[in-house]
Symmetry: C3
Subunit: 154 residues, 3 copies
């Protein structure tokens, strides 16, 4: 069976070190084998890779690419939670996808698929998750997408 | 004691087959007796029954009716999770209600009550849940309401 | 070790009685040691202390103060869940912060910090939580901020 690290290598994805905790909240909390991951922005090397609203300048493809980066950053948190061993992932339980959008934008699922598809590619059957995708008025730092997650690990 | 199926029959509600899983996410995930249900739209027979924004054409009553349909679709997912036996429901733990609304709309609770009231009617004491209700800029497919859920089953 | 009640006394914060349950949803649900708290508004003595949108009249400081009140109301729910003994808190697992904002507002983290910082001040290490902060189109009763929470208790 292909390992998650093997899948990531095939995908050419390097899981980064997660950003340091800020203020009174942290990147993730582990309780009874459930990892709750804070909302992740499309940060690359600490820099926001995409800003703006879907429906006003950001295309569906660009939004989906940003959602994929959010998903990579979620795995960065999970990797720390698993002390480096991604095979300890039991299941991606849920992704919550927030898409900064105008009131007339309606393709949020295609945007959040950037994160969902990545979880499937990287985690296989363990990546099949429940999900909510909604269009919000605005996001921190003017990010186009934010994705939070819940995982089970052993 | 009245069964949930008995309550649904009294309400004249038929729980449909849930929509088939799409892409890399699924309708629900079961882990350790907790069912996490993906955000459900007011779909009837696969067709979106209501579109638009609260505060711009969709009335509170119409929105509440859409929220009730979302709740029926949540029970459709739960029925599959319970392998057809709704009596396996221990508790509806949480509903997350997203209402597509204009910035000046403020009656989100009355809209999401369409889902909350249905859970009470169908599940009795087991339907008393925690809830968040918020007004979002837009929803997938231009839906007026989306509701996600967490249930405990045995 | 400082108790939570001791910290609250130092902060000069009195945890109020929570608002009575409304309709078919409740203020919190306890299941297997996890308390899921409904979205809390900045209510003081049953009256909404702040309305409006961040980016259109409500300042960051005002929004953060409202978020802190939401956090106090979350502890009010938790205190009931713990039958009055806040030392039964194991961990604040997650806060979900919804900020009513215009599309061009981007300082949601500073607003939700009002809730996060309070959890740190009141709960110490047990207050370090995962979090999502997003900007929504509108909130119930025209509230500026709504915060939901998940806690572990014993």
């Amino acid at each position: 069976m292909t390992t998650i690290e093997g899948r990531l290598a095939e995908l050419g994805v390097v899981i980064p070190e997660p950003a340091a905790p800020v203020a009174s909240y942290v990147g993730h909390v582990i309780h009874n084998g459930i990892v709750t991951v804070s909302g992740q922005l499309p940060l690359v090397d600490g820099v926001l890779s995409q800003t703006g609203l879907l429906g006003a300048g950001v295309s569906i493809e660009e939004g989906a690419a940003a959602a994929r980066i959010c998903a990579v950053n979620i795995l960065a948190q999970i990797k720390v939670a698993c002390e480096g061993d991604l095979e300890r992932i039991v299941r991606c339980i849920r992704l919550g996808g927030f898409v900064a959008s105008t009131p007339d934008f309606t393709d949020h699922p295609k945007v959040v698929n950037g994160a969902s598809d990545f979880m499937g590619e990287a985690l296989g059957e363990r990546g099949a998750h429940a999900r909510a995708a909604v269009g919000v008025a605005a996001l921190p730092l003017n990010a186009s997408v934010e994705v939070e997650a819940t995982f089970a690990i052993n």
